[in-house]
């Protein structure tokens, strides 16, 4: 099992085990972090927005058009913004660090 390091909106950081082959959103949701993930991961709601530690950005697959278009309209958008439902967790991502973005 690979590790995912999560910082909450309150600034608390913790480590959880991430199952391979599921999305980072699913890991966050199963571990009760505050991502509403209303649409269940179909890239429709942007309620699973996270900031990815800069170091990891280029290790992730690029954003697809839908993800990019949704993200860019968020007030809290930054260069390292991602929709966590669009990141599949793999062994290569062992140690990935994400910060949950503010609720909009």
């Amino acid at each position: 099992m690979a590790k995912l390091i999560v910082t909450t909106r309150e600034g608390e950081t913790s480590e959880v085990e991430g199952e391979r082959g599921i999305s980072v959103m699913e890991i966050l949701r199963d571990n009760d972090f505050e991502v509403a993930a209303i649409c269940g991961g179909c890239c429709s709601c942007a309620t699973c927005h996270v900031y990815v530690d800069e170091e990891w950005m280029d290790k992730l697959p690029a954003r697809e058009e839908d993800e990019r278009e949704l993200l860019e309209e968020l007030e809290s958008f930054k260069d390292n913004s991602r929709l966590s439902c669009q990141i599949e967790f793999t062994d290569d991502l062992d140690g990935l660090q994400v910060t949950i973005a503010p609720d909009e």
């Binding site: 949701r29 199963d30 209303i38 649409c39 269940g40 429709s44 278009e69 949704l70 860019e72 909009e104």
Partner: protein, 406 residues
């Protein structure tokens, strides 16, 4: 003594409410009772990827099955609540068991509306609401099977799209003169009709159904124009009815749904409701509504769970919804009305555009087709109700968020 909170209905709203109660620190007993044999799951994939066989069933689950144990949420699956006693504050299950509650959440959702035409009892006629229904449809969709779909709402059309992709012959019959008539303007219906016809769907609009015909088993639809549509299976998607009976029996106010306030409270201080089953106020729209959407189920469940804990946070959001058909991702925000002025942003032919609905000079609703960039700003604009210049709005190069600042 710790408090017991009972949730009736282990669907999207019930599952979310249980999770919210725990994440907000409730330490009492939570009993989540659901008639289906599955942990709470998401319904949208049922007429999309799950029907197409592209998604294992576990992927529809709202939370992993061990979540409930870990959070000490007592799941009673395959169990139906048959009665509630408000005086004694108990619920009765179909196995004779009775459980006492301090607070009760009704999240009973809705069930499909059934047809009563002659032949409605034949085998081979399917409806689509739960996992078991999809399993039945998939088993009947053998290679080469022909589908006769009744109803061109989003469920019928999503099934048609999946079936065409899998190579089945598909006929869709709709009594109204256009598809998705309840939720989109005629221009958008026309666009989707063209898409389905180009994909090979035989679309019969303005044609009602008079009977299902067959010898014990469904063989064909008989239509109001006298013609017959042969098929190996029929799939009916003609809407839903909210499961209000339990609430009705105990005298709670029911009017096209269980009537609740913006916190999900009924008039009984110990009983709350959330999801498809509620009729609730929406301050943005300025009226009461009953919605059939995931956004509503999830957000209202969170508000109701908070209210059960004594924290009042009003649920008041722009309603939104989505539907996937072929390569088209449709997102709808706000509720369309027939008198709205229509502004199209972008070229419909390009399959990436938005249709904006103006009411009193402000954006009241939007349909976004493969054009995600308009979606979030549109939701904010609907909420703000600020006036927009239709000419500028019609220019797809002008980002919608620019209207927010003016």
């Amino acid at each position: 003594m710790t408090d017991t909170f009972i949730i009736v209905g282990a669907g999207q709203a019930g599952g979310q409410a249980a999770a919210t109660l725990r994440s907000k620190g409730f330490e009492g007993r939570i009993v989540l009772i659901g008639e289906e044999n599955y942990v709470p799951y998401e319904r949208p994939p049922l007429s999309k990827a799950f029907l197409a066989g592209e998604l294992p069933v576990e992927k529809t689950f709202l939370k992993k099955p061990d979540f409930y144990d870990n959070k000490n949420i007592e799941l009673r699956l395959g169990r139906r609540v048959v009665a509630i006693d408000r005086q004694a504050r108990t619920v009765n299950l179909d196995n004779g068991e009775s459980i006492g509650y301090d607070k009760l959440l009704l999240a009973t959702g809705s069930r499909v509306r059934k047809l009563t035409v002659p032949g409605a009892e034949l085998s081979g006629i399917h409806y689509l609401r739960d996992i078991a229904d999809v399993e039945g449809i998939r088993a009947a969709m053998k290679p080469g099977a022909r589908l006769a779909i009744v109803g061109a709402g989003y469920i019928g059309l999503e099934v048609a799209a999946v079936a065409r992709k899998l190579g089945h012959e598909v006929t869709v019959v709709e009594a109204l003169d256009r598809v998705m008539a309840r939720v989109v303007a005629p221009q958008v219906s026309a666009f989707y009709e063209k898409v389905h016809r180009e994909a090979g769907v035989d679309l019969r609009l303005g044609t009602g159904l008079t009977a299902f015909e067959g010898d014990g088993r469904f063989e064909q639809l008989r239509l109001t124009d006298g013609s017959a549509v042969p098929g190996d299976l029929a799939v009916v998607g003609i809407g839903i009815v909210p499961n209000v009976e339990l609430a009705q029996e105990i005298g709670l106010k029911v009017d096209n749904g269980i009537v609740v306030d913006e916190y999900g409270r009924t008039e009984d201080p110990d009983i709350f409701a959330a999801g498809d089953v509620t009729n609730h106020p929406n301050a943005i729209l300025g009226r009461n509504i009953r919605l059939e959407s995931v956004q509503n189920a999830m957000s209202q469940a969170m508000a109701a769970a908070l209210a059960m804990l004594g924290h009042l946070e009003a649920y008041n959001e722009v309603p939104w919804f989505w539907s996937d058909q072929y390569d088209l991702k449709l997102q709808i925000a706000g509720l369309w009305e027939p008198d709205d002025e229509i502004v199209v942003r972008g070229d419909m032919e390009s399959r990436k555009f938005s249709v904006v609905y103006l009411r009193d000079g402000a954006i009241a609703a939007i349909n976004v087709i493969n054009n995600m960039r308009d979606f979030l700003p549109a939701k904010k604009l609907i909420e703000a109700k600020s006036k927009v210049d239709p000419a500028r709005l019609a220019d797809p190069e002008v980002p919608l968020k620019e209207f927010l600042t003016t």
